[in-house]
Symmetry: C2
Subunit: 222 residues, 2 copies
DNA sequence: CAGGTTTCGTATCGATCACTATGGAAAATT
DNA sequence: AATTTTCCATAGTGATCGATACGAAACCTG
């Protein structure tokens, strides 16, 4: 329910906006917001400047559109892991393993657009940096919410800080993104995620231990 | 043995190159290589363009000088943790806790220059991106070397992959850097590091278990 | 067909980018 | 003091940045 194919007269577009947006998204993903010039976009999208500006208003709007598209098409399924009807630990495992795959897809730039898109920017692009930070914080909040749900379900120790664990898990995903940028393979990232998940068992034990008994180990391996 | 204070005649400099380099480093740290313009540098360093170019050749050289200075003055002590005469687990703990502190110093930009400096760049700045990747890989290699030493000393299971554990630990540090950028406090990062280190015990146990005995636990909670 | 509307291609716009030419001023060397 | 050497400040270089003005072309509605 948006402006679908409703063209109210006038000369029709000579290009596919979706395909153009896709090309722009990949370019932003690879080079980041500021380092992606209009000349590069023009070439990759196969369009002239007026075509780009008529269809997407300006560079900033184009980037935001690319972010939304990335969110839907490239990492949506990973975040969907948090909504899967599985135990919380399995949901987190699906999330991290999904990230390992999403950050190393053949033919795609390595890492996550929400990080590569802009980390340090010029003062003029501060709004873009803030927008990406919002996406990252939303991920962290979604993880924390899932952990909280698991905690209420009794799957996690009651005295565990879901905020801190969420910050750790989000941080691990960020680290995976940079490792992917630095050439890590999907297998490398899966191994990394596996070690990160090992912290899970240890952290559960620690929380349970500090709850009273010091050496009576609860269930550990997976 | 460099060009120390040896000025072979001519008009002396009217500014302190070290202080100027320091200002440039902080600006690059905050905004990254490409987003830091000469106009910004000029203002922060309090110099005119010819002064900058005469003292530092060009922007790229200035950035590399800033990287070296950052390496020495801001994160050197953290990497020194790897050379400390302590057990390997304690060395890693010192490293991560040092990073937590270095990434959140009051009055300094959050996170690590080796990440904020350039992650996604324009094709023209590819050499800079590669240089930063080299620094990051050097960190990973140093961690792997320390782990290998600990393994030889019998402090780590013989069948443990030090490369994978090093990649995990480096990834955690990268994640901490981004979390710091997103506003995480030193305490937040210490908590994150604490959870990451909990993975340590779990990973040790996993490796030891797969080595034969399934329930004879090696030393865990230090 | 005429009128209205939208996009097209071409050729730029002013601003900012990293960088430097020029010439005089200041200090060390002779 | 004369010469040499280096740095200073002013001003401006060509290139590229994101974004547009313009008029012709292509569609819809009457």
């Amino acid at each position: 329910m948006e402006n679908s194919e409703k063209s109210r007269g006038g000369r029709p577009r000579a290009f596919d906006p979706e395909a153009a947006l896709d090309a722009a998204m990949h370019l932003f993903w690879e080079h980041g917001y500021e380092a992606t010039s209009l000349a590069m976009l023009r070439k990759a999208m196969g369009l002239t400047p007026p075509q780009i500006y008529n269809a997407f208003t300006d560079k900033e709007t184009l980037f935001r559109r690319a972010l939304a598209r990335y969110h839907e098409r490239e990492v949506g399924f990973a975040l969907d892991a948090l909504g899967a009807p599985v135990p919380v630990k399995e949901a987190i495992r699906l999330l991290l393993m999904g990230a390992a795959e999403a950050y190393t897809r053949p033919g795609k730039p390595g890492g996550c657009l929400f990080i590569s898109g802009a980390l340090a920017t010029s003062p003029q692009a501060q709004a873009i940096a803030d927008e990406l930070k919002t996406y990252r914080k939303a991920t962290e909040a979604a993880i924390a919410a899932r952990l909280g749900k698991g905690q209420e379900a009794g799957e996690l120790p009651a005295n565990l800080s879901v905020e801190r664990l969420a910050k750790y898990l989000t941080g691990v995903m960020h680290g995976m993104s940079i490792q992917a940028r630095d050439g890590a393979s999907a297998e490398d990232l899966r191994a990394l995620a596996g070690i990160a998940l090992a912290a899970w068992a240890a952290e559960m034990r620690k929380a349970a231990d500090s709850n009273g008994e010091t050496d009576a180990r609860p269930v550990l391996h997976d």
